[in-house]
Every structure is written in C-alpha cells, then in structure tokens.
Symmetry: C2
C-alpha cells in the first residue's frame, strides 16, 4: 500500500486494560498453565508487561480498580473470593514508577475514586507521577457507590457524630448521590483541577541564587474551595508537572456519564457488543462536546475488546477452545450479579429468565440485550449463557481469528461506530499482550491504520494522544479556563 | 582487630533520612553547585540514590513528609516557598517501587499520617508495597495537626454540616487532639493492624485447580471497627504480604510519644544534641517496653545526625566552610518558627531572646536548651544563632571530621546513650551519601561495629533489623495479639 493510501485512513490507538487482580475480565484462567496473572505480586511481572506494551507502541497501560469486592451473587463475598474475581486487589498507583523507569513513551492510566480520596493528596500523587513519568500519567475518574466499598471506606466520615442527625444525613447523602452525582464529581474533580492548573505559575520556579529565591511566592496562589462536603484552603504543593492535569479518562455512556464526558473527558472507554448500537452514543457525546465548543474529534473513544489471536483462524479457534476449558461459570455469575444487582443464585443455571417475570425486568432486559443482540440471535436467556459470555472478556465484545480477521473486525468498529481505538483486555497474561504485539500490530501497520512510532517518542501521554506539542489541556477544554497562565 | 574483638562490640545500623523536597534539613544548599537535591523531580535521581545506599548497606531509605507548608515565620507561607523549605513536596510513596526494582536488600520507610488517610486505602498501599518490595517497607506513623495541613485536607470533613454544631465540634476536636492524641493514633493504627494481621490467613491462598478455589473464603475474616471517627466493615483485600504489618517507625520522646513507642514502635527516631540528655529518655522507653513484656533491645533507636566528612579533619572543616557559604539564615528562622510556634520575625536577628520575657518561655527555653547546652556554652540566645544551628542539619546534631573522628563520635553516642544506629541527613545530595559510603562505612567496618553484609540479603526490612527469619511482628509485640494464625 502506498504512503498516500496509508495516510487517508483513520489511525487507531491501542490501550491495554488490566487490573491489579488475578483474573479481571477472564475469571478462571489462573488455572490455565499459560496464564501468569497470579504473578502480579511480583514487581518483575509489571516491568515485563510494560516493556511488551511499549514494544507494541500501546498508547497507555490502564489499571482499573475496585475496593469493595463483588458481593451480590448468593449475597456473599465468598464466591468472588474463592474464584479470585476482583479479589485480591492491590493498589494500582504503586507499580507505575517502576514501569516508568523501564519505558520512555508508554502512558499509564490509573483509576481513582473521587468519593474516597482527599483531593489534595490525590492531586499530589498524580502530579508526582506526572513528574516522574515525564508527563505520561492519566486519571480514570470514577465514583464508587457500592455498599461494600463504602463500608470499607468508613462512609460515616461524613455523618455527624450526633446520632439524632445520622438518619437525616444518610438520607441526604443518598439523595445527593442520586440527583447530583455529576455535581459531586465536578466538585471533587474541579478541586483537583484548580490545584493542578491554577495554583502555581509555570514560571514560578526561578532558582535565582542571588536573591535566594527558589520559587517566587508571588506566583503561587492559595486555592480556596468551600464545598458542601469538602473545604480546602492551601496552595498546591507540587511545582507544575509536564501535563499539569493528568490526561483524563472516563468510562460510560449513561446520560450523566455522557454529559460529564463531553465536558471533561479526553478519552472515553465504551463497551458495545456491536458497532451499530454504539454509534449513536458516540455521535451524541461528540455533539455535546461540540456544543461546548470542543473539537469533537479531540475526544478519543476506546471500545473495550478482548482479542483471541492465532496465526490462522483455525489456530485462534483452537486457542479459544483451550481457554473455554478454564473459564469460570461461577465467575461469570458473580460478575453478572455484581454488574446488574440481580442475584443469579436464585435461578437454576439453565432456567429461562423472562424479564417480564422479574421485578427488575428493565435492568435484566438491558443487561441481556447488551449480551444477546440481533447478530447473535436472542435464544433463551439463562444464567449459564450470561455467565459463559461474561467469563471471557467481561462485558466487552470478543474477536477471535487471524490477524487479518481481527483487523477486519477492528476496521468495522472504526467505520461503523466512529471509535478512535480499542481498550484491549487480556485473556492470558502476558501471552495475550505478546500475541497482539507480534501478530496484530504488524497487520495494522501494513494496513496504514496504526502508527509506526509514537506521535512524540519520549513525550507526554497527552502529546501521544493529541499530537506533539499538546502536553497541556487543549484551549477548548473546560479545564483550560482554570489555567494559571491563561492571562 | 580479631573477629572476637569485632563481635564483642554493638553493631550499629545506618538509616538514610530524606524528604521529597529540595532542601529538607539544609535550606539554601540548592545554591551550592555540589548539590543536586532539586533533581528530585527526575526518577533517575531516586534510582541512583537507592543504589548508593544499598552499596553502603543502609538498613533503609526513609522519606519524611509534610503537606501544609511552614507558615509561622512572618505569619506567611511565602518565606518557606521562596527558599524552598519543605516546598515543593511530592508524594513519598511514589518513587518506592522504582527504587525497589533496582535494589535487593535496602529497606524503605514512608511517613504517612493517621489523621488524613483512610485506614483501608493506607493499609492496601502499604501491603502492595510490601509485596512489590518483597517485604522491605516500613511505616513512620505520624499525626498531622498543624493548621495549614488541616486546611489543605479539609478538616471540616469531620464537622457536622449543621452550622450550629460546628463550633462545639471544633472545640471537641481540639480537646480530643490535646487529651487523646495517643488514643486517636491507636484507633487508626489498630484498624490498619487488624486489616494486615487479622483478616486473611497465611494459608488462605490455596490455588486449588480441581475445586476452582484460588482463596479459601473460610480463611478470610471481615474486620468490623466501630470507632468514634471511623467505621469499617470489610475483609482486607490484599493477600498476606511478606511482613504483613510494615516495619513500624516512630519519632519523638514526649511522654505520649514514649508510651506509644514502647507499645508499638520497632524503630524510634530520636534527636538529642548530646548523648547525656538522650540517655535517660531511651532508658525510659526501653523500660516501658520491658514492662509490657517486650525485649527492650528489640526496639532500635536511631539518633538523627548530619555528618560532614572529609578524608582528614582539615578537609572536613574546609567542606563545612564551603557549606556555610550557602546556608540559609532565613531558612533556619522559618524552621525554628515552625517547630516552636514562635514567630522569630518579631525579633531583630541579633536581639537577645530571654525566655522569661516571652509568654511562651517554656517552649523557648526548651527549644534553646536543646540547641545550646552545657557542652556548647549557653551564650546569648538570638534568632541568628538559632537559625545558624538549624539551617545545617535541622534540629539534629552535626558531626564534622575525618572518618576516624566521626566514627569516634558515633561510638560515643552508642556508649553513652545506648542508641542502635543513626538516622543520617544529607547536606549535599547525593554527595553526602557517597561520602558516607566511601569514607565512613569502611572505617566502621574495620572497627567491627558495622555489618559487612545485611542480616538477610534479599530479605525483609524486619529481618534485617531483627535478624534473619523475623519477617513478621515479634511474638512479644502488641500487634502480635491480632495475628490471624496465632491460634
């Protein structure tokens, strides 16, 4: 293919989606001799993985997080603990600096909840990482509201000690959660944003020996925030890092999530099962962003996918058959129950679940229709079928085949849903990463839809996502209005 | 000297005391061309330092922390910001995994406040680090009560929203701080301790493929804690790490601090200016520990010292003269004011401060008598003299001389104050570390008072401090009563 032909196609990004846990989206594979995901207690595992991903020129290595444990299935955490579904989970911030030391261009994304971390400490941790990675850190902004994690965090932190007011406050808290989760997100995120963007001028660090001035205090602002749950009065404590605000990831296409994404997110994780259902959601968010004056193409959408690659289609199917031997049906039930809030232990494995029989029919209908769509045929909705789907790749779609087959599939997602790249989950670790790097990446490059080199080798995550020179929030981004040096 | 002669002497430990800031205990030295402490935004700085310290077989690399900024002097943060005294400060947790990846035996200590971190997240971060370092992590337990850091953290988190109760609650909070700081410490620390020691059995991770059991849920306990400020109901989420509870550091010899140390600390940082005044304090804490049934010699006391080493005494004095050219008097004033709460800007630099003239005479008397003692002569107490003392080495003592002279000084501290080692602060970074490793360590080894090799090369921090095989809390330690597998 000619260079001209190459450049006419939309270039895609690859992102690696992982978690500091054993199975993540493929419960049960720890029993597969080819899987080493239980080596994650060993720092060497992370160093090796980061090197593989940089070799494949992944945009970033993204680590999900959860603290509460899955406890809907059978009304207990025990099934999740037994099969190691999101348990144990280590701190996703911890391995980053070690991986940064053995890479130059790979970005890193970390999930952190705005509900449980103090803005000042969270902002400091990200800024420290942004310095140490030379601008390669991203933040996946989430709220955590499941009861188990709230109990782990000590939710009563924000409830008055006086017992008489406890009940009223809990109600207020729940209402707040329901009607103003988005506001809450904004309040927290903006506090961090102010610390990152507004507190210290880019030229504050002067290191003037004659006047014994390391930082010019006139270029340091105290940030005051008087919020409902949070107050803060302090200058930020870290001098401006390469990106200032970490590259902002966000997941979800709910109405509240879409509005948030259109305003704040620079990269959005989406999870459709077929391109057709996803396309209007992405178009909607791009339109909302455009309505705010943002370049809609500056928002990068990553479809969540699990790839099972072989040298040939037959080879890939053989791999899939081997993987199926180890998939955990119980794990699928645990995940489905956690995602939907419906305890599947109350059904027989092969019992048909009729949405209209359920009090939560809308939730079930939505969950199943996401899994079983017109392309796959509807058939009977049973716990076993849901579990089989969810125990390989979680709630993301799965592509199986040769590099050519899988590349065709990716091109279809780009053409039909207007995604910008893929958030890829591994089945076997680190083998899945090696398969992508060795089999798929060369195929994508030969089609001209994948870079031969990072936008900015040795540069920042934002530059690699938005183009060389774009280390800071774009001028059309909401957060830019907080920039110290905006004038 | 014979091996028998060698073994009859008490062997000392060296600990490196640093902070993620520019000057730390030697404000102004960033202007000295020999100092590279302003390179701390670069990960390479940390990797190089860790390698130097491991070469010198330091027990651990210890990182202090502060979040609020020094703001007593002149009633403003500006002087501290200008001279870079504890500003900027990055997150001390972040560089650890990178340093762990390039070392095998060096331990790491991190300061974290029990006041501002959620026990569950703090416990998870330490356990993750304990896994990734293979058991080389320690925790310096502190409370943070200065107003500036409280404002940065949003102190009102624990104040009822209802304004009518705000005043009453603030008073209660202050009283709580004054009368039960120790209780508060215990409450928080014990929550972490329960998560670390009591939640998951050592044999919980079974990885039994046949029964699809990664973790045996019957060996995972839910921890319930109903405290005044914190509640928690959750199992811990990280499988047992090599040390479970990180090695516990603590600083301070106040009555409350001593009682805490006697119960909890495994290593205690002390800062006397002469051995004679320190000796009874150490003896007291060892006695308190013995009263609790602990082996008093298992508590390791580290005297804070700053060393200025030359090949000869004359060489060292030349180095000191060079260092004095860059010491920041303003920095000393800022530090003294922050430590004592007395704003020295209200005095002329050479004005005599008579404690009896001050409303805070007891604090001033104590602060000055710590600096100027019978060995140094009392003389006039002036701001300049205090600042000169504090701007080289902070409030720790300073030893200047050849390796022989300094080693003699260390031996005197061991003999007279019964310390177990030294918490050494650098003047110039990383040059001070190289001086210690290349000049002092060989002298200490030749005297038989320093190890030729770690107790447990490649082992845990606790093993290196307490002897090979001792990775877990000792059986005579209070925290051992929480151990899951105690029976």
């Amino acid at each position: 293919m000619s260079q001209a032909g190459k450049s006419s196609k939309k270039r895609i990004y690859l992102n690696a989606f992982d978690a500091c846990t054993v199975g993540h989206t493929c419960p049960g594979q720890w029993r597969n001799p080819a899987d080493h995901s239980s080596d994650k207690r060993n720092l060497d595992y992370w160093l090796e993985t980061a090197k593989i991903l940089e070799k494949g020129k992944f945009l970033s290595y993204f680590l999900a997080d959860t603290v509460g444990g899955f406890d809907v299935y059978n009304g207990s955490r025990d099934p999740a603990i037994k099969i190691a579904s999101e348990f144990p989970v280590t701190d996703p911030f911890v391995p980053i600096s070690a991986m940064a030391a053995v890479t130059k261009s790979l970005g890193f994304g970390v999930t952190a909840s705005t509900s449980y971390e103090r803005p000042f400490l969270l902002a400091r941790r990200f800024s420290t990482l942004d310095h140490f990675t030379k601008g390669r850190i991203g933040w996946n902004i989430v709220t955590s509201w499941n009861k188990s994690s709230a109990l782990a965090m000590g939710l009563t932190d924000i409830i008055p000690h006086d017992e008489r007011y406890a009940a009223a406050d809990e109600l207020m808290d729940v209402l707040y959660q329901l009607v103003s989760q988005q506001y809450r997100l904004l309040g927290r995120e903006l506090t961090c944003c102010r610390l990152w963007e507004l507190s210290i001028s880019d030229d504050a660090v002067v290191k003037d020996k004659a006047s014994e001035t390391y930082i010019d205090p006139s270029k340091v602002r105290t940030i005051k925030h008087q919020g409902k749950y949070h107050q803060l009065e302090s200058p930020f404590i870290v001098d401006p890092s390469p990106q200032r605000t970490p590259f902002l990831f966000q997941a979800g296409t709910s109405p509240a999530g879409s509005a948030f994404a259109a305003k704040h997110a620079e990269a959005i994780f989406v999870a459709g099962h077929v391109p057709g259902t996803l396309a209007p959601k992405i178009a909607k968010i791009r339109q909302l962003a455009a309505d705010r004056g943002r370049d809609p193409q500056s928002l990068k959408f990553f479809q969540c996918l699990t790839l099972i690659l072989g040298k040939t289609d037959e080879d890939a199917q053989t791999k899939l058959a081997e993987i199926k031997k180890y998939q955990s049906i119980e794990g699928g039930l645990v995940i489905f129950s956690a995602f939907t809030g419906i305890d599947l232990s109350k059904y027989e494995l092969d019992e048909e679940i009729k949405p209209e029989d359920s009090k939560s029919s809308a939730i079930i209908q939505s969950a199943f229709s996401n899994l079983f769509n017109e392309e796959q045929g509807t058939g009977k909705w049973t716990p076993r079928r849901a579990a089989e789907e969810l125990s390989i790749g979680g709630n993301g779609a799965v592509l199986v085949g040769s590099p050519q087959t899988v590349a065709d599939g990716l091109e279809r997602w780009v053409a039909e849903a207007d995604v910008d790249g893929f958030n890829l989950s591994p089945v076997l670790q680190p083998q899945s990463w090696n398969d992508i790097v060795e089999l798929l990446v060369p195929e994508l490059q030969s089609r001209g839809i994948y870079w031969d080199e990072y936008n900015a080798p040795g540069g920042t995550l934002r530059e690699n996502a938005q183009g060389k020179g774009n280390s800071r929030l774009r001028t059309d981004h909401f957060g830019h209005s907080y920039t110290y040096n905006r004038g």
